[in-house]
Amino acid sequence: MKKLIFFAAALLAATSVQAQKLVIKGSDTLGAKLVPQLAEEYKARNPGVSFEIAAEGSTTGIAAITDGTAQIGMSSRRAKPTEMSAAQAKGVTLKPTIVAFDAIAVVVNSGNPLSTLTKRQIEQIFAGDIIDWSAVGGSPGKISIYTRNTSSGTYSDFKELAMKKRDYASSSQKMAGHEAIAAEVGRNPNGIGYVGLAYMDSPGIKVVPIDGATPSKESVLAKKYPYARPTFYYTNGEATGEAAKFLDFTLGEEGQKIAGKVGFVPIR
């Protein structure tokens, strides 16, 4: 009996040594959908690789690389100067790699005569300074604002990108998902909301160009569209081993296709 237990333990130890474990920590923008899907696909191709993904915010991702507790750190922002210095103090070089772009499209009802809005107008509309469409050159009508619910990542991302971190107007309606926002705006002639790029073609809505720039692969890549930002993998210097392979897979054709599918703008 004792022998059997020992044998089982030895077997377990052997397999765990053999299995490659990739620890990825950081941003929930990347960690919510994209990276888990990439990991699934990667696992299907490379049996024996296992993943540990923790999406608790960009800060934790960068800190994990500095502390050496993860091979890849996900981040939806560049490292801050203090983080860079902290890493250097520990002899770690933070190396960012752009994985994909995250963009948010502002949508209105397709019956809305508006053809463009400025960044300032968007801020004023969502913060509740402007409450009537006539103030921005539309036909008179009270603006109905649709946002994501308060605990969603996009909710605060949009505040940061478009509203100078101000709070949404109290008249805004909190919807459960992007498709709910698209559906409401599609049925309300006075509606305005924002959706991820994957939902831009929903019926009844149209995308408003911001300062003349429409959200698309090209405008995002040319940095013309304001409500987009790159998302990063952080590594300690050049990635090595399994991490390097996963990074290549992410940036390769397959990985970028998945990125496009879950609503990111591929880098190429």
Binding site: D129, D132, A135, S144, D167, Q173, K174
Partner: protein, 534 residues
């Protein structure tokens, strides 16, 4: 005469051969008894556990909320918000001006029949005026934005030090004493940190005075507007004068402001119960005030009960008193079947069908006298209330019918014997006799409605704001958020143990107490006012 025979005792054949089956010393009867008793006990234990869990998770909210409010004061956010109030008041004055412009535009194009272009030209001086009025705030606004940044920085610093403290705590809990001691915690010296903010007071005073002068100058001008709108312009002027008159008071408030007083413990409670704002994931300050949610829940319930009580009670009276047995057999199962619909199905029905059709109905011109019509948002109190009424009808119907059934036959028969008609008997005898039961049926229907989640989540519109009651009943066509809805919507993604998480549990506690109170009163009314039979 005869011999007396002594009866021989008959040998007893009742000897029990089979010993009763006993398991662990228990007979079958005991086992059955224990089974039923155990079931009841499990129910009680589970209820106690749920209540305990609810209170355990929720109770630390008040401590956290007090700290939240304390940081709001200590980090100077409270001070900055005094200045911010000036800015928001000014923006609302600017909005008045832009609504005046809109009215003027409509007046020119419809009453005076001039083209849009000419009207816009005619309004150009007014636009200039409005723009100067709006721009007057700019120096104040840039000061405010600096103050905001500074206060946010102090708050972030404090948050970071709290996180570090938490980290040390975690390490200590793991038994890693050396690592815990190595965690560097910066204590935030609020007095020193606040100096740059408080130091801006002379600048603020200067800015505020210049601002007041500029506005005063603008008020002495009279922008050109059609005669019909002069009254409104006068109202605007008097509002603006009050606003300017208030500016010195703001200065005094700022001078008197002090960061040191501690927030009393009761504020953590009152700011929840009476707080008019539910604001989470804010970069500035989170607020957990339950009033908008409570008002939302109550408004939805009011609409639902207004519809469900006449239908439910009316149907109960008809079925119990007037219907033929065949009708009874048809109507009763039909009404009771409504409750078989899952509420999520009713919710989808609301999104896909009812919301749209209510809105297109509200746009019919001859219905425009109805308050709140035409409806702007298709998902609102009315849509959700209509669907909830469907859920409440079976509850109210069944219980009210029971209550009518319980009215002693003798009462009705006596009434008939005195020559009352059937209708007179129903109105004057049966219904009053069953009234306590009917009222408790309505209360239980209310309990059903206020606890319902899926329909309000899908159909109430989820706007976290107290509806604008200044337009009377029109408030019922506005979107609201509800207590049940917010728990369902936010619980999934919220950080465990955070103040937001606790706040949702406290909302759950409030709901629990509401349901408890409703059920208690329903029971009490039935007991207190039941007509004794016999």
């Amino acid at each position: 005469m005869s011999q007396t025979s002594i009866p021989q005792p008959i040998p007893t054949t009742f000897e029990i051969h089979r010993r009763r089956l006993r398991f662990l010393g228990l007979s079958l009867d005991d086992v059955i008894r224990a089974f039923f008793g155990g079931n009841a006990l499990v129910a009680v234990i589970v209820l106690a556990l749920i209540t305990f869990f609810l209170f355990r998770e929720g109770s630390s909210f008040f401590g956290q909320n007090r700290e939240n409010l304390q940081v709001y004061r200590s980090a100077g956010l409270e001070y900055v918000d005094i200045v911010r109030k000036v800015e928001t008041d000014h923006s609302s004055l600017s909005r008045t001006l832009s609504s005046l412009r809109q009215r003027a535009l409509i007046h020119y194009t419809t009453a005076e029949q001039i083209s849009l272009e000419q009207a816009n030209q005619k309004l150009a001086p007014f636009d200039d005026y409005a723009m100067r009025f709006g721009d007057a705030i700019e120096p104040m606004r840039s000061l405010l934005s600096d103050l905001t940044d500074t206060a946010t920085a102090i708050k972030t610093k404090y948050a970071v030090s709290q996180d570090k403290r938490e980290e040390r705590h975690q390490l200590e809990a793991e038994g890693k004493a050396t690592e815990a001691a190595a965690v560097k915690i910066d204590t935030v010296d609020f007095a020193a940190e606040l100096k740059p903010i408080l130091g801006t007071l002379p600048i603020y005073k200067q800015t505020s005075r210049e601002f007041a002068q500029q506005l005063q100058g603008l008020l002495d001008e009279s922008p050109t507007l059609p005669k019909e709108l002069q009254d409104r312009l006068q109202t605007f002027r008097s509002q603006a004068r009050t606003f300017i008159g208030n500016l010195p008071k703001v200065e005094r408030d700022l001078e008197a402001w002090d960061w040191t007083p501690a927030i009393p413990a009761w504020r953590a409670f009152t700011s929840f119960i009476f707080g008019r704002e539910w604001l989470t994931a804010s970069f500035w300050q989170d607020r957990y005030g339950v009033v908008p949610l409570l008002v939302g829940s109550l408004m939805v319930s009011v609409v639902a009960l207004t519809l469900a009580v006449p239908f439910g009670v009316g149907a109960a009276i008809y079925v119990n008193q007037l219907a033929s047995p065949t009708e009874q057999k048809l109507i009763k199962p039909c009404i009771e079947f409504i409750s078989a619909f899952p509420s999520v199905v009713l919710g989808f029905f609301g999104i896909i069908f009812l919301g749209d059709h209510l809105r297109s109905l509200s746009q019919v011109s001859w219905l425009s006298w109805v308050p709140g019509f035409p409806i702007a948002e298709r998902l609102n109190v009315l849509t959700a209330g209509c669907l909830l009424a469907l859920l409440a009808v079976p509850t109210i119907f069944t219980l009210a019918e029971d209550a009518l059934n319980n009215v002693p036959r003798a009462l009705r028969e006596a009434s008939f014997a005195l020559g009352a008609t059937r209708l007179q008997t129903i109105i004057k005898i049966t219904v009053p006799a069953a009234l306590s039961g009917i009222i408790s049926a309505v209360l239980l229907g209310f309990g059903r409605v206020i606890g319902e989640t899926m329909i309000v989540l899908l159909c109430a519109g989820n706007r976290i704001a107290i509806p604008d009651f200044s337009e009377g009943f029109a408030a019922f066509t506005q979107p609201v958020h509800t207590m049940t809805g917010i728990i369902a919507q936010e619980m999934g993604e919220v950080v465990r143990g955070s103040i937001h998480y606790r706040a949702l549990f406290v909302v759950g506690m409030l709901l629990f107490f509401l349901s408890l109170a409703i059920n208690y009163f329903a029971q009490k009314i039935v007991r207190r006012y039941r007509i004794s039979i016999g």
